[in-house]
């Protein structure tokens, strides 16, 4: 009986470890998205401040390509929208993993209790 519980615990621990790993990955992704959003925000503010006839270039690989101010503004807005959606997705992912983590922790605690009870009996 005790062995069985220990085996179950091992399995739970493994699962928990996997989830924690994924959780950390999710958080790192979210941080990256956050900083991208902030950078885009800064660019947008800068583009708004520019004069109407100012020249804007986009760096594509090693070359600077001239771009319309209007087009650039639209591009940045689109990108921000996309990043916001991604952030929402990452948030959902993280909270789902949090829930899973909690469930496994609970299972683990239960198993620990069972094991302790058995030990006391024995």
């Amino acid at each position: 009986m005790a062995e069985e519980i220990q085996k179950k615990m091992q399995k739970e621990l493994e699962l928990l470890g996997g989830i924690q790993k994924e959780y950390r990955k999710g958080v790192a992704l979210k941080q990256q998205l956050d900083s991208q959003l902030n950078e885009n925000k800064a660019v947008k503010e800068e583009l708004v401040l520019l004069k109407k006839d100012a020249e804007v270039y986009k760096l594509i690989g090693p070359v600077l390509v001239k771009q319309d101010l209007e087009e650039a503004t639209q591009n940045v807005a689109k990108r921000m929208e996309y990043i916001c959606k991604e952030i929402k997705r990452a948030d959902d992912h993280i909270s789902a993993l949090e829930n899973k983590q909690e469930a496994h922790q609970e299972n683990l605690n239960k198993l620990k209790n069972d094991l302790n009870k058995l030990k006391i009996k024995a």
């Binding site: 950078e39 800064a42 800068e46 583009l47 100012a54 020249e55 760096l59």
Partner: protein, 161 residues
Amino acid sequence: MATVSSAPAPGMHQIDLSKLSIQQLLQLKTQLDQEINVFQDSLQTLKIAQGKFMESGECVEKMTPEAKGKTILVPLTGSMYVPGTISDTDNVLIDIGTGYYAQKDAAGAKDYFKRKVAFVTEQIEKIKMLGMEKSKVHKAICMMLEMKVQAQRQSAKPSTS
């Protein structure tokens, strides 16, 4: 570019330190250690960014109309330069982030760097404040931890003697 939100994280609430166990205090301490480290790292990064913006601002100041036609050495790689002449001292291209470059006149460029330096300085101040608060909590936890450990030692002594 990192922006710092000063809003408290959700789930943050006041905890009476004296009610925590030694283990919980230790856990809290390591967590705070990590947070303080993160703050110090970002502070360093921000200071580097501040220095770069200041340097660029100084470069723009040197681009006066008198500099027109003067020769300069243009770096092709980190270790190879070719001679060139300055043909336009009125306009400069500025990297505004995410691969976009905008053309600005000297005054606009100066203003841009001034704003950027102000922004970064503001962020530095914010992080400094947050860091100070964290180290205050850190100190309090360390003190409480010491008290608890001593109390435990004292309560353990009579039972052994």
